[in-house]
Symmetry: C2
Subunit: 187 residues, 2 copies
Amino acid sequence: MSLKHAILVLLEREPGSGYDLSQRFAKGIGNFWQASHQQIYQQLKALNSAGLVSHCTQEQAGKPDRKEYQITAQGKAALSQWMNQPEKSPVVRDGVLIKVFAAHLADRESLVSELSRHLSAHREKLASHRQAEAAYFALANPRRAKLRLPYLTLRRGIRYEQDWIAWLEETRDIIANDRVPDAPVPE
Amino acid sequence: MSLKHAILVLLEREPGSGYDLSQRFAKGIGNFWQASHQQIYQQLKALNSAGLVSHCTQEQAGKPDRKEYQITAQGKAALSQWMNQPEKSPVVRDGVLIKVFAAHLADRESLVSELSRHLSAHREKLASHRQAEAAYFALANPRRAKLRLPYLTLRRGIRYEQDWIAWLEETRDIIANDRVPDAPVPE
DNA sequence: ATAGCCATGTAACCAGTTACATGATTGA
DNA sequence: TCAATCATGTAACTGGTTACATGGCTAT
């Protein structure tokens, strides 16, 4: 299970509470691994009883106790073992493609506007990735080199959005005008 | 839940048994929605008690009874309602990206060979998609026009593999030679 | 006031995976 | 004789989502 390892990766960089982690999941790492706060709290509990993380409780006025988690030596060992193990490619399950596959059963108007909706969403996501990329290139070199690895994953996100946008544009056009594709996908 | 709808889409094209469906899931539709036979049998049972499919039992010598399922009028109604409803983009959860994100915790050799492994897998998948594409373009026109929609989803698969290949090539190279990316992702 | 952030969790449910079970037929 | 394909299923488990619960602080 990779969520556990994603959490260990984040704690290895810097200790933090469940809330902290959920913030971090919403940012960088969230581009390729999402987790709700509910899941995070549960996994932290599990990681804790497995001895892979430890926590110290800080009392706070008017708020529940804050538990700051940190990775243990055992956790680091488990993490580096996982890091060097082969990882399966995730399976793709995409409802939009089922709808295109069965477009003859849909209202054409509504399918076209559905594709447009996804197109805008992917364009927005791409724009925000491009902003993050610009921020990365605006950095001076010591900090830039340090963020090299997260930036490589951002590049994956940028390509992913570009790729969806290209496919959605052509597919929407083909469906809207009831055309038939006339050539293979270029290399 | 889209598996139910994927099954309804397949049965709308042509009635079939659980086994038939699992074969079809392994082919075309499997590029964007996978299902094990266990899941299919369970969902058929559920769809049946919901009245969205019906079945007739055919006895077979030495084999369990074959149940041929077909979509009901109610099932068709449910399907066309689903077809015209908005669909969420699937969330991405990819362990390979976690490993790149945390590459400093891995053995460089082993990460590079992991990336190579994925590269070959994506290249093979692309080659098989390209074969399917060539078969599509080899068809004469009445049949080709009929397969237009599945072909559109195949195009998505081709792009997906191309895109992964491009990213894996550049990323493997950067990690193997400990380089830093020097320019944004091109448009 | 009201929304949004801070901050923690539990519990029920749903979808998908893995393990187990059975047994005939066909081709190498 | 061994593996693959045909053909059907049940049951336990895992990972993730949704719903529910609590309550203070801060900015508009």
